[in-house]
């Protein structure tokens, strides 16, 4: 089985596959598609198409991810299953928890371990903040907090990520909150796809 995976969650997926000993290959698409969701459906279709002959099954390692149904149309047309939820945040924290979090404070800017590690590239550079730091308030003036959904359970790694998350939050001028989610939700969702 092959998983066409968002590059932002491909690594935890591969770890999950290794942990469970599933016979699954993870094929990541570039994580920066995260910032251009209108391209996700066509890229998934292209990669899934190219994998179809080599694998018995191909599944999609994306939630809706801002495609607003375009990915579901591709999945339906090609007979592919995908991860549940609107975003990977739902997979980590659970959809209900995410709804509560955003209802309590709509101005919540979310980070995952991947986004914490790649903040300079996936956030600052993509938003042009490296070239025009004065745009910071254009993007973030209505946000009131950063919530880092921490997946790692390794103490040493968590300490390192915590420092990076704090620095990221400071760079966009917001206080940091940490929600330890682990990867149980992603693990379970991927398991459901594997069980098919």
């Amino acid at each position: 089985m092959a998983v066409v995976a968002c590059g932002a969650i491909a690594q935890p997926m591969a770890q999950s596959v290794a942990r469970h000993g599933w016979s699954v290959d993870v094929h990541p698409l570039p994580p920066l598609l995260h910032n251009q969701p209108h391209r996700i459906a066509s890229e998934v279709e292209r990669l899934a198409g190219s994998l179809a002959e080599r694998y018995d099954r191909v599944v999609v390692g994306y939630a809706d991810c801002g495609t607003y149904g375009a990915l579901d149309e591709v999945c339906e047309r090609l007979g592919l299953e995908r991860l549940p939820g609107l975003h990977c945040y739902d997979l980590y924290a659970g959809a209900d928890r995410m709804e509560e979090l955003l209802d309590a404070e709509p101005g919540t800017y979310l980070l995952t371990d991947f986004l914490v590690r790649s903040f300079a590239r996936t956030v600052e550079q993509e938003l042009g903040l490296d070239r025009w730091p004065e745009l910071r308030d254009e993007y973030f003036r209505h946000y009131t907090r950063v919530v880092w959904l921490a997946q790692s359970t390794d103490e040493l790694e968590l300490r390192e990520l915590r420092t990076l998350a704090q620095a990221a939050a400071e760079r966009i001028g917001l206080p940091l909150e940490v929600l330890h989610t682990g990867s149980v939700g992603l693990d379970a969702a991927l398991g459901a796809l594997v069980d098919g």
Binding site: G66, Y68, L86, P106, G107, L127, G128, W132, L135, H142
Partner: protein, 221 residues
């Protein structure tokens, strides 16, 4: 610098988003008695139109649009009162806001930049705008068009709530309603009963102009 060089400079530096240089050239132009209208229509608006075209072609992305818009906005701060003094009229008045429960405003701000660049007067109500605030703003400013922006599927239903509030206040027929935002589609705009929808900032300007023209052609002068 000659007036032609200044106009070219304003155009080029707006495209690059070089705010300080755009400001400097604006002052130089006015010192040479160039008209505010000339700066607007012969340099700034064409520059913003080119920014929109580059965005449509995929040559520019959100940061480039925002920085160009900021450069133009700096010049407009100086030109706006002068334009009013010289009787240059805006092509229409647009009240804009992100709906209640939604704090996302990058798309809305890009639309504002393009609308202002096209000659609209834009009154931006900001984010998390409740229906009653839209109603109050429409009563106060009497805009030609009101725009509702939503970035989340969970806040899109506020379009309908806003439209209901306009109906209740007796304002629905007095203003054109446009809706937009990442999850919004023409079908959704039709379902909620909006007059117009556009997929991006440039398309919004074109659609707004077309809706305005249509409305004005129906209303006796």
């Amino acid at each position: 610098m000659t007036p032609e060089e200044i106009l070219q400079g304003l155009y080029d530096e707006t495209l690059k988003g070089n705010g300080p240089r755009v400001l400097e050239l604006t002052h130089q132009a006015l010192a040479l008695d160039m008209t505010p209208g000339s700066l607007l229509f012969d340099a700034l608006i064409p520059a913003l139109e080119e920014v929109g075209a580059r965005f449509e072609r995929g040559d520019y992305f959100v940061p480039e649009m925002l920085i160009a818009g900021r450069a133009m906005a700096g010049s407009m701060e100086i030109l706006r009162p002068l334009l009013a003094d010289t009787g240059v009229e805006t092509i229409g008045k647009f009240v804009m806001g992100t709906v209640k429960g939604d704090v996302h405003d990058i798309g809305k701000n890009l639309v504002n930049i393009m609308l202002e660049g096209a000659g609209f007067e834009v009154i931006d109500l900001g984010v998390q705008v409740a229906p009653e605030k839209f109603v109050a703003a429409i009563e106060e400013h009497e805009p030609d068009i009101v725009g509702f922006s939503a970035f989340l599927t969970t806040t899109m239903p506020m379009f309908k709530a806003n439209l209901n509030a306009l109906e209740k206040a007796g304002l629905r027929d007095k203003v054109i309603v446009m809706v937009g935002g990442a999850p919004v589609t023409q079908e959704y705009a039709d379902v909620v009963g909006a007059d117009g929808y556009a997929a991006d900032a440039s398309a919004t300007v074109k659609r707004a102009k077309a809706l305005l023209k249509e409305r004005r052609s129906k209303v006796p002068a």
